[in-house]
C-alpha cells in the first residue's frame, strides 16, 4: 500500500515524520544555541500535531491528552527552561565550531538508511498504515545520539538527549497508537525532572571547570600537563 492509497490524515502523519527527521538534521547543522532550542521546540510541536492527528484518525481520545502534555512540556516548558539557563550562564552568544560537519552529515544520512534496514522486519509485525514512520523515529533516536557524540557543549548534549526521547515517543505514537496513559504521564514528568536536573548540572559544571565544554571534563586538574 503506497502513500497514494492512504487517507489524508495518514499522509499527513507520514509527511510530518519526514519533517521531524529533517529537524533532526537541522539540529546537527545548527551552531548557535537559540536556533537549536527553537528547532527542538518545533520538533516537540510537530510531535504534538502528529499525536493529535493519530488521535483523530483512529479515534483514540486519550491521545489528545498526551498531545496536550507534549505540546506543553516539550514545545513550551523545556525550551523556555533551557533558554533561561543559557541566558543566565551567559553562553547564548557562543557559536560552537562544528568538528567535521560534512562527515557528520554523511554519517547522519547513513544512520537513516541503517535504521530503515534494521526496522524493516519489525515493520511487518504492525498493521497500522503509519508503521513506515517507525524507521523515521528510530532514525531520530540515532540522530539524537549522533548530536551528543559530535558536540562538546553540555546544552547541546541535553538537547540531543531530549530529541532521543522525542524519537521514542514518535515511535510509540505512530507504530502502536500511543502508550498507556500512566506510562505516558510518567515519562513526561521524568523528562521534565531530567530537564531540571540537567539545569543543576549545568551550573555545577560551570562552577567547577568554568566552561560548558564537556571535553574539559577529560582532564584532571592535578595532573594538568597543558
Amino acid at each position: 500500500m503506497g502513500i497514494a492509497q492512504q487517507t489524508i490524515y495518514e499522509q499527513a502523519v507520514l509527511f510530518i515524520a519526514a519533517v521531524v527527521v529533517f529537524t533532526s538534521f537541522l539540529m546537527l547543522a545548527q551552531k548557535r544555541l537559540f536556533p537549536l532550542i527553537a528547532l527542538f521546540a518545533s520538533q516537540g510541536f510537530l510531535l504534538a500535531v502528529t499525536t493529535a492527528l493519530v488521535a483523530y484518525d483512529r479515534d483514540y481520545p486519550h491521545l489528545y491528552a498526551s498531545a496536550l502534555i507534549t505540546l506543553f512540556i516539550k514545545a513550551m516548558v523545556i525550551p523556555w527552561l533551557l533558554r533561561r539557563w543559557i541566558i543566565q550562564l551567559d553562553v547564548h552568544r557562543e557559536v560552537e565550531s562544528l568538528l567535521y560537519p560534512t562527515y557528520v552529515m554523511m554519517a547522519a544520512s547513513a544512520l537513516v538508511l541503517f535504521s530503515y534496514y534494521i526496522v524493516l522486519p519489525i515493520e511487518r509485525l504492525s498493521t497500522l498504515a503509519s508503521r513506515n514512520a517507525l524507521a523515521v523515529s528510530f532514525a531520530v533516536v540515532l540522530l539524537g545520539m549522533l548530536l551528543m557524540i559530535a558536540r562538546r557543549q553540555a546544552v547541546t548534549h541535553v538537547i540531543g538527549f531530549m530529541s532521543i526521547e522525542n524519537g521514542l515517543f514518535f515511535a510509540a505514537v505512530t507504530a502502536t497508537g500511543g502508550m498507556p496513559m500512566v506510562v505516558e504521564l510518567g515519562v513526561a514528568f521524568d523528562v521534565l525532572v531530567a530537564a531540571v536536573l540537567f539545569g543543576v548540572f549545568f551550573f555545577h559544571i560551570r562552577s567547577s571547570i568554568d566552561s560548558l565544554d564537556v571535553d574539559e571534563l577529560n582532564r584532571l586538574h592535578e595532573v594538568d600537563t597543558r
Binding site: 507520514l14 538534521f25 537513516v112
Partner: protein, 313 residues
C-alpha cells in the same frame, strides 16, 4: 503538425524569456522601493547589443567566438525538450531530464572555456567559481530528479507530469524536499542572490558577469539571452513538474490556449517569489557556497530517503 508546434512553442519560449527576466527585475525594483524599468527593457538591451559591432581581443581563439553560439544553442535545445505549454510533444520522446542536465553541463563547459580563453584574471576566477558551483549543484539536481523518477517510475518529463496529475493531491514528503532542493539548485545555477548577484559588476563577488566580461555586441547579447532562457527553463521545470495543473495534453487550440494562460500565471507567481527571496537574503561569501549547496543536496537526499522509507511498501 506536431513538429511544427514544437518549433512554434520553442520560439515562443525563447521570445518570452527576456520578458520573464524583465518581470523578475520589475518585481525586485518594486520590492526595494525603486522605480522599475519597463517590462520590455531586456528586449531593448538585446536589440541594442545586436546592433553594436563586437570587439574581440587579438589573442582570442576560435573558442571565444564559438562559445556564445554553443551556449545559446544548448539553451534553445533545452527549451525545446522541456514541456512548456503542452506535454507529450514529439521532443519528449527523444530526451528526458538527464539529457536536460547534460545540455546544461555542455553549455556551462563552453561558457567556462570562453571565460578562460583570453587569460584574464577575472575570466579565470569566474570560470573556476562557476565550476565549483556546478560540481556541487549538479549532484543535488540529479538527486532531486531521481527522487521524482523513483516516484513516477520514469525520467521522462511528460510522463512524470501525467503521473503527478493522475495521482491527484497527495502529501508526498519526498516531493516537498525535492522541490526545496531544486529551488535552491535553480537559485545557484541561474546566478541569483545569495550565490551570485546578477545586477552587480563588483569584481570580487561576480561569477557569471566575470566570465562574460570580455564579450561585447552580438556575442554578449547571445550570452545574456541564453542566461535569461536558462532562468525561465528552471521556472518552467519547477512549475510544470510540481504543479502541472492546467498543462495541455492534446494539441487543440482551446487546450493550448488554456495551457498558455496556466503556465503564464505560474511563471508570474514564481517570478514574484524569486525576487522576494532575493530581497530577504544577503549575498553569501564564496566560501559558504558549499554550505548552501550541501544543504540543497541534503534536501534532495532526504527526499529520496523519505520516498524509500515512507512512501512505498
Amino acid at each position: 503538425m506536431a513538429w511544427l508546434l514544437v518549433f512554434v512553442e520553442t520560439a515562443l519560449f525563447i521570445a518570452l524569456a527576456p520578458l520573464f527576466a524583465g518581470w523578475v527585475k520589475w518585481v525586485k525594483c518594486w520590492l526595494q522601493n525603486r522605480r522599475p524599468p519597463s517590462l520590455l527593457q531586456p528586449y531593448r538591451d538585446l536589440a541594442k547589443l545586436f546592433r553594436k559591432r563586437p570587439v574581440i581581443a587579438d589573442q582570442a581563439s576560435w573558442v571565444f567566438e564559438a562559445a556564445p553560439y554553443i551556449v545559446f544553442a544548448t539553451a534553445v535545445f533545452s527549451a525545446g525538450i522541456v514541456p512548456f505549454v503542452a506535454a507529450h510533444m514529439p521532443t519528449a520522446k527523444i530526451a528526458d531530464l538527464i539529457v536536460l542536465v547534460g545540455f546544461f553541463a555542455l553549455g556551462r563547459f563552453f561558457l567556462t572555456l570562453a571565460g578562460m580563453d583570453l587569460g584574464t584574471a577575472f575570466g579565470g576566477m569566474g570560470s573556476s567559481r562557476e565550476m565549483m558551483i556546478a560540481s556541487l549543484a549538479e549532484p543535488a539536481m540529479l538527486m532531486a530528479i531521481f527522487t521524482l523518477a523513483m516516484s513516477a517510475s520514469t525520467t521522462n518529463v511528460s510522463q512524470a507530469i501525467d503521473w503527478v496529475q493522475q495521482s491527484g493531491l497527495v502529501l508526498r514528503p519526498s516531493f516537498a524536499f525535492a522541490l526545496a532542493g531544486l529551488i535552491m539548485v535553480a537559485v545557484a545555477e541561474t546566478g541569483r542572490i545569495p550565490i551570485d548577484n546578477p545586477a552587480t559588476h563588483l569584481e570580487l563577488t561576480m561569477v557569471h558577469e566575470a566570465m562574460v566580461l570580455e564579450y561585447s555586441g552580438k556575442y554578449l547579447a547571445l550570452m545574456e539571452w541564453a542566461s535569461q532562457i536558462k532562468l525561465m527553463l528552471y521556472g518552467v521545470l519547477i512549475a510544470n513538474i510540481f504543479f502541472p495543473w492546467g498543462i495541455a495534453h492534446d494539441f487543440s487550440p482551446d487546450t493550448l490556449g488554456r495551457g498558455f494562460v496556466a503556465i503564464a500565471a505560474k511563471l508570474a507567481l514564481l517570478g514574484a517569489v524569486l525576487p522576494t527571496g532575493e530581497t530577504l537574503f544577503a549575498k553569501m561569501r564564496v566560501f559558504r557556497y558549499q554550505e548552501f549547496l550541501g544543504f540543497a543536496y541534503l534536501l534532495s537526499l532526504l527526499g529520496m530517503l523519505s520516498h524509500v522509507i515512507l512512501e512505498v511498501n
